[in-house]
């Protein structure tokens, strides 16, 4: 079991290495309350942030466009299905009337 003192000692040693090498962005950050204040951003940071914001906005537009597209396709498909049903029904009716006509003709012939 590691004691708190052991852990903290090692923690401080490594923190010092990071500070010395400048790899910890802001040495005061660790366990500090000063996180609300953003550090000075570099141009590269700002560029990356802009890219993320643009991508997020684009993803919203893309999402809405896709849902609009699917809705349109859905509506189109259902309209098409209805049209097919209509065509099939009318074809049945036509076939029915033709049959009836033939039947009537046959009846007249027989008479």
């Amino acid at each position: 079991m590691i004691s708190d003192a052991q852990f903290l000692e090692q923690d401080a040693q490594i923190l010092n290495i990071f500070k010395k090498e400048g790899s910890s962005l802001d040495s005061t950050r660790v366990d500090s309350e000063a996180e609300r204040v953003p550090r000075d951003l570099t141009i590269e940071d700002l560029r990356r942030i802009d890219r993320i914001v643009q991508k997020a906005k684009f993803s919203v537009v893309a999402k809405h466009s896709m849902s609009f597209l699917f809705k349109t396709i859905g509506v189109g498909a259902s309209e098409l299905a209805l049209a097919f049903i209509g065509v099939a029904k009318s074809a049945n009716l036509t076939a029915g009337s033709v049959n009836a006509e033939e039947h009537e003709n046959n009846r007249v012939d027989n008479e």
């Binding site: 490594i14 990071f18 090498e21 962005l25 993320i52």
Partner: protein
């Protein structure tokens, strides 16, 4: 905006997104640089780091409505980042190694030339040590010393107990020191 806390910004994001991105942009300004550098340490490649960082913040953008505030925003954010980095590592392992290395080297050289801050992040001794550490040790050290998370925050990100986190971090620290000292010894031998 500067005066607002993260929680207040999150609350504003929940009501304003996706139509108004002012509060979201402020959250990015506060956290993105550090998240990016953490990804850079965890993944060791500029390209992967940028991709992982972007994905993590896009997830934040889309899932902020589901964030219930049971943990701090920062913890929630780093959990997303941590998981994204693990996923990226897995994908990376499957990718063609030689091709990836070549692309990474070129990109890193270009970025290092453009941005001196990045140059330090990619070529420093600390970076070298972290690059030599195993996956989990590397991520733990990064969360603690690059992202600046406290022990409790790391435990929340990893979703494990405090004592287990302390134990794992202690081992990672020992590993870090060992590799760091080895590098020191190596340099001294070379100089002699």
């Amino acid at each position: 905006m500067d005066a607002l806390t993260d929680d207040e910004l999150v609350a504003r994001c929940k009501t304003e997104l996706p139509y108004n991105v002012t509060a979201y942009r402020e959250l990015l300004r506060r956290h993105e640089p550090l998240v990016y550098r953490s990804c850079l340490k965890m993944l060791g490649s500029v390209q992967d780091a940028e991709e992982a960082c972007q994905d993590a913040f896009l997830q934040v953008f889309h899932k902020l409505g589901q964030f219930e505030g049971r943990s701090a925003f920062k913890t929630w954010l780093y959990r997303i980042v941590y998981n994204r980095c693990i996923e990226s590592r897995r994908k990376d392992a499957r990718r063609n190694e030689n091709h990836a290395k070549l692309v990474e080297e070129i990109t890193q050289e270009e970025i290092a030339r453009e941005d001196p801050d990045m140059k330090n992040a990619l070529t420093g001794k600390v970076h070298e040590v972290i690059a030599k550490m195993s996956g989990e040790d590397c991520r733990l050290v990064t969360l603690r010393y690059v992202s600046g998370l406290s022990l409790q925050e790391i435990a929340d990100v990893l979703e494990i107990g405090l004592s287990a986190t302390k134990m794992r971090l202690y081992r990672a620290q020992e590993k870090f020191k060992e590799i760091y000292n080895d590098l020191d010894t190596g340099e001294e031998t070379e100089e002699a």
